[in-house]
Amino acid sequence: MTLEWMAWTPITASFFIFIGLVLMGMTVWQIVSPTVESKGFLPMPTTRGDRLFIGLLGSCYILLAWIGLTELSLWIALALCFLFLGLTLRFG
């Protein structure tokens, strides 16, 4: 059995490796210092994992909106995503 049917490309592979690394990092972080539920600018109290999920999901929507509405380079959108992810993780 080969992996050819999955049609991997460098970009998608690095995307999943990135997600995997983030998840591992979050696990280690959780072991080192367990998260406390806190209330930020989001409407409900969240843990670190919740904020990560909201950040990632929000990033997907930013990218989709960018592609759907503008013709500009995706790198700008990607930068926006990281900014959003950082903000949610820190202040969400």
Binding site: M1, T2, W5, T27, I31, G49, F53
Partner: protein
């Protein structure tokens, strides 16, 4: 007995519910000429020919056998992996448990159409295409989360003291689980099996896409007849009636717990 407004409303609803089913059953006992030519509320020439056709034509009855095979496989797989997991979710809090639970639920919520393409490619690559186990595994996508969800609700209803007492009495975990705990949640297992059976039985999209000949489910056999030009309405109706039979049998066994099954699960 005086029938009040409430009962009348209920009866009206049940009438609406049964009317289409009545029409299907009615049609299954008619000859094709009568279906197309005469409009009659009861069959004028009552006939078993449509049913006889299904039970003697292999392309029809193997469809039933295929469906029952993969539904049974799926129910067994779903239950056996969901039981320990539901116990884990109901008794322990562990790292990432809430996210895990949500992730499981998203699979119940995601459209099967999304997974159609990769399943198709994947099963063809590993040579499982057009086998019963392929459909059974594909249906695990939505049945396993559902099973975990329902079982977790039932298990949370069992007081934790029972586990503690058993462990103090020197029961090992497997012995406790199989001899004490499983009998306690019999009803829950029954309801879960019912829901797994039901959702695997009624699903068509994945079952149809992942099979061609050997594991073709009855539902797909029926769509083939629909797309054919000269239609055999009577046979189609008879096949439809027969697909309801297993459901009715299963439902009779769990009728008292059925409503509970959905309501108990935490979302």
């Amino acid at each position: 007995m005086r029938i009040n407004l409430r009962q009348a409303a209920l009866l009206a609803y049940l009438f609406f519910l049964l009317l289409p089913i009545y029409w299907l059953v009615n049609m299954s006992f008619k000859e094709t000429d009568e279906i197309l030519g005469v409009f009659s509320l009861l069959p004028e020439h009552f006939t078993w020919a449509n049913y006889k056709m299904i039970f003697t034509d292999p392309s029809w009855y193997t469809g039933y056998i295929n469906s029952i095979k993969y539904v049974a496989m799926n129910t067994v797989i779903s239950l056996s992996v969901a039981l320990p997991a539901a116990y884990g979710f109901s008794r322990f809090s562990f790292m990432g448990d809430k996210h895990m639970f949500f992730w499981l639920l998203t699979n119940r919520m995601s459209p099967p159409a999304v997974f159609l393409l990769p399943f198709f490619q994947f099963y063809q690559t590993v040579g499982l295409f057009d086998t019963h186990i392929a459909v059974a595994l594909a249906h695990c996508l939505f049945n396993v989360p559902l099973a975990v969800w329902i079982l977790e609700g039932f298990m949370s209803g069992v007081p934790r003291e029972i586990d503690e007492t058993a462990f103090i009495d020197g029961y090992s975990f497997p012995r406790f689980f199989f001899t004490i705990f499983i009998p306690l949640i019999r009803a829950g297992i029954g309801v879960t099996a019912f829901f797994c059976f039901m959702f695997s039985w009624v699903e068509l999209l994945l079952a149809r896409t992942l099979t061609t000949v050997n594991a073709k489910p009855i539902a797909a056999v029926m769509t083939r007849t629909i797309s054919a030009a000269g239609m055999d309405w009577g046979g189609l109706a008879a096949a439809g009636v027969l697909t309801m039979v297993p459901g009715v049998i299963v439902i009779w066994f769990v009728r008292n717990y059925m409503a509970k099954g959905f309501a108990l699960g935490r979302v």
